[in-house]
């Protein structure tokens, strides 16, 4: 198999503003994650149970078809996620691109981002923070549609009664993340 000069191609594409979506995959204790970024910041995190090919097609449709595998563009995100999964980082400091969300969902997701490490909120609190305390169900939907899970920690949002609620990556992963952060006992 010929070695293609992919790294240099991605660098030149970035220099010429042609790299609209850079992506890579990275390993986590829960399986492989897909990371995708625009020049503005991290735009999508795909969880292990989600089909990476489908996510890329979705990005090509909703952001730009100029989608390239470009691991170097995601070095910072990968490094922070590695530290987080090692329990050595409690706050992500990554630029984010929110373009896949808008309106009430975006307000909920931005509020989720501010929930501190190791703490939890419930869906009612998130609805209130987003400016509509009666839109509890919509707040739940907004959590479920979080395009940047883990970094935007929707796993910290639980049911009001204390139940785990749902998680796009499956409940074992939600439980695992809460154990990692010391919210739940292992």
């Amino acid at each position: 198999m010929t070695k293609l000069p992919m790294r240099r191609l991605a660098e030149r594409a970035a220099e010429e503003d042609l790299l609209d979506v850079a992506y890579t995959t990275t390993d986590s204790p829960f399986g492989r994650l897909l990371l995708a970024a625009t020049p503005k910041g991290l735009v999508r995190v795909g969880l292990p149970n989600q089909d990476a090919d489908e996510l890329l097609v979705d990005l090509a449709t909703r952001v730009s078809p100029r989608v390239l595998e470009a691991p170097a563009q995601l070095d910072d995100a990968r490094r922070e996620l590695d530290l987080y999964f090692d329990g050595k980082l409690d706050r992500f400091d990554l630029p984010l691109d929110w373009r896949l969300s808008d309106g009430f969902q975006l307000r909920v997701q931005k509020a989720i981002r501010r929930i501190p490490y190791g703490q939890t909120r419930n869906y009612t609190e998130m609805a209130t923070k987003a400016g509509n305390d009666r839109a509890v169900r919509a707040a739940g939907t907004a959590c479920g549609r979080n395009p940047i899970p883990v970094v935007v920690p929707c796993h910290r949002v639980l049911r009001s009664g204390g139940g785990l609620g749902g998680y796009g990556g499956g409940l074992p992963m939600k439980r695992g993340l809460l154990e990692l952060e010391g919210v739940l006992d292992k």
């Binding site: 030149r12 010429e16 097609v57 090509a60 100029r66």
Partner: protein
């Protein structure tokens, strides 16, 4: 449009093989990047995703021609092939080195036909000539190769 990376995954190796045939190993990496950068630039406005392979090979062909023009049509340094072992030996190297010495149209016709397996009509489209002229270039190129290889 599918994610651009899919085009590279599906056709990257073939584009590289064609470029190696057309410009040799040394120039192929640059031509490969130039090819996919041009494609990436035009991609969002592309109307027809029907023949992405032919489209890429056409761009690759143009980049190979640009490459030769930039070098003033200098002959490829094939005379310097040594008998010592080289990295990554390729059994076809000898033939492709000879292909590299053909005049541009013949060289392009031969690489598009045999490295990319394109039919005459697509070679003609890539070269911007009639299918008949493409067939002639291919024929002349093969004749010359046979003579050289004898």
């Amino acid at each position: 449009m599918p994610p651009f990376q899919l085009l590279i995954d599906e056709h990257g190796n073939e584009v590289m093989a064609v470029l190696r045939g057309a410009v040799g190993r040394d120039g192929a990496d640059d031509c490969f990047q130039d090819t996919f950068l041009s494609a990436l630039r035009a991609y969002p406005k592309l109307r027809d995703a029907g023949n992405l392979r032919g489209w890429l090979l056409t761009i690759a062909h143009r980049k190979a021609i640009d490459h030769h023009r930039a070098r003033g049509r200098a002959p490829l340094p094939v005379a310097e092939v040594t008998e010592t072992a080289v990295e990554d030996p390729d059994p076809d190297d000898g033939v492709w080195a000879l292909v590299g010495t053909l005049p541009p149209k013949q060289r392009a016709a031969v690489t598009l036909r045999y490295a990319s397996d394109l039919p005459h009509a697509e070679i003609a489209a890539a070269l911007g000539c009639s299918p008949e002229a493409a067939r002639r270039s291919l024929h002349e190129g093969l004749k010359r190769l046979r003579k050289e290889l004898r």
